[in-house]
């Protein structure tokens, strides 16, 4: 568990953030560009020393009045944006740099394991200048991980990569989350990245923390500006339950029903996160059988909030899960929507976040 409180004023930018990061799982520091995410991450790592800061990790105070643990004494891993590496060292020397400085007894991951996990064996003798962006990122994450950190900090680990490379890094990060049990805190401004990877969200805007909590909850909160972005939508955790070979459909079970998706969701039993954009959910009062939409779910209206340009955002409860639907004010009026009312949610598209 990390508790941090950081205040600073730098000209037009001010930051006043109080946050707690769980000691397990993946936490995303999420918010628009310029909201102070990197500043916070750097303060946690001790790279910048702000006068008004308090930082406690587990039972140890890292920073307070008169106390400042320098960065090299903080058991953290840090992956800089763009994954920068030591230009004068080969890949293997980069990997060994931190690893060698960790006492044998504290090493929780071996060089060989990291090389295997990040698929680095063909790159070991290369220079950073001869690596692609995705390769640099992999080396940088592996190098940080080899210090066996108690928390892995990553600044936009996927920025500037094409979709394929993003996928590779994402798969590795998922394996880290699921196999190595290393708590991670990463900075991102993209909802999809965050929805795919994070269990816990810290939503930051204009230098203040405007919400924190489980990813599912934050994405479905109508009081946050997040739900009013054009690409607003919920994240739902599902399990791949069955495969219909005839129609090439996968069945995903979640707390509240099933989704059929025209994609391969991987082996049965695999956890799959999906994202459902609010603009792709429409509502009807009766169940239509004569529709091309595969996924129609009985739902209860929980909350309705006015949005921009004559639209409303509706939060729906489907079993133990939540959905968002963006519809026009006119439709909301016509359907006489109000909290507690039973409706059917027609889900036009489901995005699988964990591609196989």
């Amino acid at each position: 568990m990390i508790e941090a409180r950081i205040q600073l004023n730098r000209g037009s930018f001010s930051l006043d953030a109080k946050l707690s990061v769980p000691g397990r799982g993946v936490t995303a520091l999420f918010g628009p560009s310029g909201s102070g995410k990197t500043t916070l991450l750097r303060a946690i790592a001790g790279l910048d020393r702000h006068a008004d800061a308090y930082l406690k990790v587990g039972d140890t105070v890292w920073q307070d009045r008169g106390t400042f643990v320098p960065p090299h004494r903080r058991p953290l891993g840090y992956v800089f944006q763009e994954g920068s590496l030591f230009a004068h060292c080969s890949v293997i020397k980069n990997l060994e740099y931190g690893f060698k400085r960790i006492p044998h007894g504290s090493r929780r991951i071996s060089l060989d394991r990291a090389v295997e996990l990040f698929e680095l064996s063909p790159l070991l003798d290369r220079r950073p200048t001869d690596l692609s962006g995705g390769e640099m990122r992999r080396v940088a994450i592996a190098r940080a991980l080899l210090t066996s950190p108690r928390l892995l900090l990553m600044d936009e680990p996927l920025s500037g990569l094409d979709l394929e490379r993003k996928g590779t890094i994402m798969r590795i990060l998922e394996r880290l989350r699921d196999e190595l049990d290393i708590p991670m805190l990463f900075v991102s401004h993209l909802p999809d990245e965050v929805a795919q990877l994070a269990d816990h969200l810290i939503y930051i805007r204009n230098g203040t923390i405007s919400a924190e909590g489980a990813s599912e909850d934050i994405f479905s909160r109508l009081d946050l500006p997040l739900a009013h972005e054009p690409d607003a939508g919920v994240m739902i955790r599902t399990i791949a339950a069955a495969r219909d070979e005839e129609y090439q459909l996968s069945r995903l079970e979640f707390d509240g029903g099933i989704f059929m998706v025209a994609r391969d969701a991987g082996p049965i039993g695999r956890p799959v996160r999906i994202r459902i954009p609010a603009r792709d959910v429409s509502l009807t009062l009766s169940r239509h059988s004569d529709t091309s939409i595969l996924n129609v779910l009985p739902a209860t209206v929980e909350e309705i909030v006015e949005g921009a340009s004559a639209q409303v955002m509706v939060r729906l409860r489907v079993g133990g899960s939540l959905l968002l639907a963006r519809i026009t004010s006119k439709s909301a009026m016509a359907l006489d929507l109000q909290p507690g009312k039973g409706v059917f949610a027609q889900v036009k598209s489901v995005a699988l976040l964990d591609e196989t």
Binding site: L47, Y78, F86
Partner: protein, 227 residues
């Protein structure tokens, strides 16, 4: 081929250049590091002071050094009170003069190299558990190595080439302060053009051979192919 006193002048010159370069690297490294990293307002003043030897006539430096190192000067006087001798007209005095005179030629390449390394590699190293000294030797020095090479060669070559300062505080003592540039001057004065040619040619070749690798390596470095 070289007369005995010319040979001894060559030896003295090389010894002077070697000792001066060594001292300059030891002094210049922390100074250049500080200049490259500090946000202190005094930086500009120190920058300007370090660069003074570039613009001043060497005789000005020599004149003040002579006063400071001589028996009535603060440094020479102190040396005498401590039971030694004043530093004017000694090898040690020559070393002090050369250090002052060649300071910018060592500090500026180092400062440029440290500046171009930037802060990021040090932050990376810190998050990989390297303490400040560890970071300096494993990150700053290797990343600034082209700066060290330039500093070393320029410091060495510039010390070999100095004349004015030596003239003022050297005193032309064979084996002690009689260096090449003075020897050439003496030969010309005595109309011994053959010997002047020999020494001058030697200096040209020597200096060229030292500068060549620096520019070759800097070119490779700028092309991003340093290894």
């Amino acid at each position: 081929m070289l007369a005995e006193n010319d040979l001894s002048a060559l030896g003295t010159t090389l010894r002077l250049a070697f000792v001066t370069t060594l001292i300059l690297l030891l002094l210049g490294t922390p100074l250049a590091w500080w200049l490259a990293r500090t946000r202190n307002r005094c930086k500009v003043v120190v920058d300007a002071v370090v660069s003074l030897p570039l613009v001043l006539p060497p005789t000005v430096i020599g004149f003040y050094l002579l006063l400071a190192l001589g028996p009535r000067g603060p440094i020479g006087g102190l040396m005498e009170r401590l039971g030694g001798q004043s530093l004017a007209f000694t090898f040690a005095g020559l070393v002090i003069g050369s250090v002052v005179y060649s300071l910018p030629f060592v500090v500026q390449p180092l400062q440029d190299a440290f500046t171009s390394v930037g802060r990021r590699p040090f932050e990376e190293a810190a998050t990989l558990r390297a303490g400040p000294l560890d970071r300096f030797f494993t990150i700053a020095v290797p990343l600034a190595r082209h700066g060290y090479l330039t500093a070393m060669v320029l410091g060495f070559a510039h010390t070999i080439g100095e004349f004015g300062v030596v003239l003022m505080i050297g005193g032309n003592i064979p084996g002690e302060t009689h260096v090449l540039s003075i020897a050439i001057y003496d030969h010309v004065e005595a109309l011994e053009y053959g010997r002047a040619h020999l020494l001058s040619g030697l200096l040209i070749v020597l200096s060229f051979l030292m500068l060549l690798p620096v520019y070759a390596l800097n070119r490779r470095y700028r092309m991003g192919r340093v290894s």
